[in-house]
């Protein structure tokens, strides 16, 4: 049984002064103000919200409010079953216990021929000062009078009210039904979208009635699943009233737990009709997503989109809920009627299941047209390099091509004896790249004439990186090489436990590299290992690093964040498939693709997933970040551009083959190759 402890039908009434607490703000006081007592500075605050359970503290200590799910606690001095009130209401059983009230199921004996059930809500007037006590009582009676005059099929009827000594009572219609909270708890899967929309439309109708109440609008102020009941006829009833708030005693200290459905402005004392719109949005979010806002950070609905837990929900309904949940009150629906119209226009309101759920936006077109494209004789799998207006790219046709960056015009090519999967780097006027013919090449960046080659004992798929007049690269002969950039002479080689296809990263006088044997190394510039980290599978991905961490993807499906000083894993994040893509930073996020078809944006400090974007194919391409956007290719044949902050699609460009090449972004142009043999220049 759920407790019915909170409640605020709020009626704007400037004359209403709560005696238990002093309202010092300029705000109008409402019946059912959810505890925004503003009080003199330097005093301990009073308890917010009706605590489901409070631990009694000596003196002025802290208090612990039980989690919202806690069941009712027996209260001292509760009425025994069979107890008679006003010679008319016989208590049948305890119904629920809240922080400020006790609720009984009772029988009204005035009706002698039928069994007429009712709900009796008892509130204890604990104020010590007799004057305050009298004010509590008169406020209660004034509010009860207003509530008793309400007449709407969606609102539980108030039959009677009275006080006996320190106790005040409200007698309410008994509704045989279940609250939406009960229904949500019982539901095995997700509640059908059409059902939630239908309930929300009915709540909007009740809110329209309350908000247009004469002479002043009534703000309910506590819309939430446990305050909405579904009766035996499928009708919605708002069941709780905030009248008990008057009896709240001044509790003090730290408390845990928030209501979860309340809009931010309500904590500043504001109570206008649009607070109910927000709370209804929050209620719908909970019903659709099954994520209880009481257990989440307050006001975090936008950070927890419904479709993340419930992918079947339609985009159009999500839009309605999101608009109701706007922090900025002026961006919400202006009235319950307006929200009701938006809900009724949904296809799910007409019994449909909703259209266009998330994640099914399959389309194969392109949003942009390329600036130019250039056809090679075989697949392009490497990353192009752009330097001084020239694009350099290697292809599986054994050639390194030099193209004019602006027009795509062919300048020259250099033929090797093997496929080129290594990405070129340009250093001191030379283009450095590896080939499957086991050589590292250095050629003149302008003329394409050979400067030197550096032989290894295995294919060179790793992409070279140059610094300190040395070029660092890996080979399938299991070594990391350091060679002089002028002569090509090998300065040292560092033996690893597998083929080195990962490309080294250089920083802090240290080279970071992975190997197919599953080990990540930090090697100093003299070729001595500083530390190593052993993963479960091949590390083909190239490390990224910050001043504190090294980040690397692994074919064991994890992305690792390693302490740059010790190699200790600070965090790891598992994806749904091997990670071959190399991570890159953008806007404080770590971006990386996975064979599970997603591009991930991770928090670099914690590894937490900030967002991820689903494509139709494996993402082995290394993302590139520029100007608030991230660019990458997918084996589904497309090049994607997403907004870095949100992960929303900016554009998509379809090629004729898988895109495992990685983009290079320069001067608002994205250069990327495809297995369709073309190099594309796309507008960023």
């Amino acid at each position: 049984m759920k407790s019915l402890e909170t409640h605020h039908i709020g009626i704007p009434d400037p004359s209403a002064e709560s005696p238990a607490q002093e309202q010092t703000s300029r705000e109008t006081r409402y019946i059912g103000v959810p505890e925004s007592p503003v009080e003199p500075a330097k005093e301990e605050p009073k308890a917010p919200g009706p605590p489901a359970q409070t631990a009694d503290r000596k003196g002025r200590g802290t208090q612990y409010m039980a989690p919202p799910s806690a069941g009712p606690e027996p209260v001292e001095g509760r009425l025994p079953d069979g107890y008679m009130l006003q010679d008319r209401y016989r208590v049948l059983m305890l119904h629920a216990v809240g922080g400020m009230s006790t609720v009984y199921k009772a029988q009204d004996l005035r009706f002698t021929r039928v069994t007429r059930l009712c709900i009796v809500k008892e509130m204890l007037n604990t104020a010590a000062d007799p004057q305050v006590r009298a004010m509590v009582k008169s406020n209660f009676e004034r509010e009860a009078n207003i509530l008793a005059a309400l007449n709407h099929p969606g609102i539980v009827e108030v039959y009677d009210f009275f006080s006996e000594g320190k106790r005040s009572y409200l007698v309410l219609e008994y509704v045989d039904g279940k609250t939406l909270e009960d229904l949500l708890d019982e539901a095995e899967g997700f509640l059908p979208e059409s059902q939630v929309v239908n309930w929300a439309i009915q709540v909007c109708q009740v809110l329209s009635y309350l908000h247009s109440h004469d002479p002043q609008p009534i703000v309910f102020r506590d819309i939430k699943p446990s305050n909405i009941m579904l009766d035996g006829h499928g009708r919605i009833r708002l069941i709780d009233f905030g009248i008990a708030r008057n009896f709240q005693s001044g509790q003090k200290g730290t408390m845990i737990g928030t209501e979860g459905y309340t809009p931010p402005e309500q904590y500043r004392g504001s109570a206008e009709p649009r607070v109910d719109i927000y709370a209804l949005g929050a209620t719908m979010h909970h019903l659709l997503s099954k994520q209880d806002p009481k257990l989440e950070a307050p006001f975090s609905f936008h950070e927890r989109p419904i479709h993340r837990t419930n992918p079947t929900v339609s985009r159009e309904l999500t839009d309605v809920v999101n608009r109701a949940l706007e922090y900025d009150i002026d961006k919400r629906f202006g009235s319950a009627e307006e929200m009701q119209r938006a809900l009724m226009s949904l296809s799910s309101a007409r019994g449909g299941s909703g259209t266009a759920p998330f994640g099914t936006t399959a389309f194969v077109g392109s949003d942009i047209t390329p600036l130019w494209r250039f056809r090679c004789e075989d697949e392009i799998r490497s990353t192009p390099a752009v330097h001084n207006g020239i694009v350099y790219v290697g292809a599986y046709d054994h050639n390194l091509y030099a193209l004019d960056a602006e027009s795509g015009k062919f300048l020259w090519k250099y033929a090797t004896e093997g496929g080129i999967g290594s990405s070129p780097c340009v250093y001191e006027g030379r283009v450095l790249f590896g080939s499957a013919d086991r050589l590292l090449y250095a050629i003149n960046a302008e003329t394409g004439r050979i400067a030197w080659t550096c032989p290894t004992q295995g294919s060179v798929w790793s992409s070279p990186r140059a610094a300190f007049d040395h070029v660092f690269f890996g080979s399938d002969d299991r070594n990391l090489y350091a060679a002089n950039t002028y002569s090509g002479r090998v300065a040292w080689k560092f033996a690893t436990e597998g083929k080195v296809r990962s490309s080294p990263s250089i920083g802090n006088d240290t080279i970071y590299v992975g190997c197919e044997g599953g080990v990540v190394y930090a090697v100093d510039i003299s070729g001595q290992a500083r530390w190593r980290f052993r993963a479960k599978r091949s590390v083909t991905s190239s490390p990224a690093f910050s001043d504190a961490m090294v980040y690397v993807g692994c074919q064991d499906s994890y992305v690792y964040g390693l302490d740059i000083r010790s190699g200790w894993s600070a965090w790891r994040q598992r994806t749904g498939g091997p990670v071959v893509s190399s991570p890159v930073f953008g806007e404080g996020l770590l971006l990386v693709g996975s064979v599970d078809k997603h591009l991930y944006a991770l928090d670099a400090d914690s590894g937490r997933i900030v967002w991820r974007y689903a494509t139709e194919g494996q993402v082995t391409s290394n993302p590139a970040a520029a100007g608030g956007a991230v660019y990458f290719g997918s084996v589904d044949g497309a090049v994607y551009s997403l907004d870095i902050k949100t992960g929303n699609l900016r554009w998509r460009f379809q090629t004729e083959g898988p895109v495992v090449s990685s983009p290079t972004v320069m001067d608002s142009v994205v250069y990327i190759g495809s297995d369709d043999r073309y190099l594309y220049a796309l507008p960023a």
Binding site: R57, G61, Y521, Q528, S606
Partner: protein, 288 residues
């Protein structure tokens, strides 16, 4: 068996002598943490419901490990001494987990690998263990928990509640690392309240996350490098709600020692009213 393989692994790869990590033997005279800490009941309460735990380890010699420091601070809540019990259990349970899962293995392990849990996982698991221990042993009790693990100058911080971790420098004063899990902090983040309004808001003591809650507990993890000249400060709200940040910074940077700084901070909070228990931990990591 595995241990043997690890040892032999060194042999196997020694064919490429260059791949064996030479252990940088750091002179360790200054490779230990300098620490100060203090706790006080304050002026208004009868019990001190805060708990603090300080643990440091350093060693010198061949293949020396980085200096290890563990600092935990908890601020309990709940009646009938539940607050004291909750904060103490939380700090001890988390420390036990971290030492057991993280520190002890490093004394014998040869290299880092994915077979060890990641540091952040150890920290999250430690705080969740503390949560389970408090939930089962102290019904009705709750506590904040801010737990800083330092490996040399690198700080890994696990955090739940409204105790705080800061870095302190002479030039920039206090830099708050942690976010309070309080209702008013969220309202400030959303621009619905100013910091000053939050300080006097009637619901400023409402936490939405704390140790002792039922269900799954979300734990925040932060990472910072505490550079030379910087100090790490952990404190309960008995300090930060009573003493201005600028004053805290000036006390920390002018005191003759870290211990003297902690005692001065407690005195300053008491002078400002001492409305709550006050606990402070100050740490200066070893130089590189």
């Amino acid at each position: 068996m595995k241990f043997l393989r690890n040892l032999l692994g060194r042999e196997e790869t020694s064919a490429s002598a260059s791949s064996v990590a030479p252990s940088p033997t750091v002179p360790c005279l200054h490779s230990r943490f300098r620490v100060g800490w203090a706790t006080d009941v304050g002026k208004a309460r009868r019990h001190n419901e805060d708990a603090a735990l300080v643990l440091t380890a350093a060693h010198d010699g061949e293949d020396a490990r980085q200096a290890f420091g563990l600092f935990a601070l908890a601020d309990g809540m709940g009646g009938h001494q539940a607050g004291e019990v909750a904060s103490s259990i939380a700090a001890r349970t988390a420390a036990h987990h971290i030492v057991h899962q993280l520190y002890l293995p490093t004394l014998v392990q040869q290299e880092h690998s994915t077979d060890q849990p990641a540091l952040s996982e150890v920290l999250v698991n430690a705080v969740q263990a503390a949560n389970r221990a408090v939930a089962s042993r102290v019904p009705g009790g709750g506590t904040t928990l801010t737990c800083a693990l330092l490996l040399g100058p690198r700080a890994y911080i696990a955090h739940v509640g409204d105790s705080r971790a800061y870095t302190v420098t002479e030039a920039d004063g206090l830099d708050q690392i942690t976010h309070d899990h309080s209702l008013v902090d969220r309202l400030v983040e959303l621009g619905q309240l100013t910091r000053d309004e939050a300080d006097v808001h009637p619901q400023k003591n409402v936490l939405y996350r704390a140790i002792g809650q039922s269900g799954v507990l979300d734990v925040d993890i932060y990472m910072r490098t505490v550079s030379e000249g910087e100090r790490l400060l952990l404190c309960s709200d008995g300090l930060w709600s009573m003493v201005r940040e600028t004053e805290i910074a000036s006390i920390v940077t002018t005191a003759p020692s870290l211990q003297a700084a902690c005692e001065s901070l407690v005195a300053a909070a008491n002078q400002a009213g001492g409305n709550d228990n006050i606990t402070v931990i100050l740490v200066e990591p070893p130089l590189d």
